[in-house]
């Protein structure tokens, strides 16, 4: 646990340093006027953020390890929606003392509008262009349209 805390502190320092460099390069003063955002004594926000991070890490492992395009898309889309719920909820609670809740909720609204939509578009184009499932005997093609756009696209090209 102690080693994990040390590793997490060092890694987060590198990410924070990189992002501060980006903000400085954009001409902004990266020193915060008030360091009012603090999670101390807010177990609800802490719990929500940890919940979301666990699900996003599980989604990344799924995208890395699953055998097939469709299964990877399933892991990415579903778990990202659940993890974003946790992280944006926790961030909205934690940003409440500095009156930034509306911006966090704006990002969350856009996120929940677009995450299922992009998953749908990727799945549709992959299915219609005929990406193969990794095992024929466990997959069911209800529409029989797997790869039905491939000939039309080949004629267009």
């Amino acid at each position: 646990m102690n080693a994990l805390a040390t590793l997490a502190r060092r890694a987060s320092w590198w990410v924070v340093i990189a992002m501060t460099a980006v903000a400085r390069a954009a001409g902004e003063n990266a020193a915060p006027a008030e360091r009012g955002v603090s999670l101390r004594g807010d177990p609800l926000a802490e719990g929500l953020i940890l919940f979301g991070c666990v699900f996003l890490l599980a989604a990344a492992i799924g995208v890395l390890r699953f055998p097939d395009f469709y299964v990877r898309l399933h892991a990415s889309t579903k778990l990202v929606t659940l993890g974003g719920l946790g992280i944006f909820g926790g961030a909205a609670i934690a940003f409440a003392p500095v009156q930034q809740v509306s911006r966090v909720l704006l990002i969350a609204l856009f996120f929940f509008l677009t995450a299922p939509l992009s998953g749908y578009m990727i799945a549709r184009s992959g299915y219609l262009r005929g990406l193969e499932p990794y095992r024929e005997d466990t997959s069911v093609d209800d529409w029989g349209a797997l790869g039905s756009e491939a000939e039309a696209a080949a004629q267009d090209a």
Binding site: V37, V63, V80
Partner: protein
């Protein structure tokens, strides 16, 4: 403490998704991993805004989210028909 662990988890997720973008055997895997990469990057920027207390990072997160969705939609359309618009 919690925010450091969160940033570590999200950075590891971004690295794994980058591996899948570079390695993915088919283009569908690459587009899937790219969509996941942009979403995770936006979430990571939100958590970094919490960690540093520098609220303009929230605008950066919104911009990353919008650009990620637009590019994913354009890639999906391009890979379906071989062109973005009629």
């Amino acid at each position: 403490m919690v925010l450091n662990i969160a940033i570590l988890c999200l950075a590891v997720s971004v690295l794994l998704a980058t591996y899948r973008v570079l390695r993915g055997p088919s283009w569908g895997d690459r587009v899937t991993a790219f969509d996941f990469l942009t979403v995770t990057l936006a979430v990571l920027v939100v958590v970094v805004a919490l960690r540093t207390g520098y609220t303009p990072f929230l605008d950066a997160a919104l911009l990353i989210s919008i650009l990620g969705f637009m590019s994913t939609a354009a890639l999906a359309r391009y890979l379906l028909r071989g062109r973005v618009m009629k």
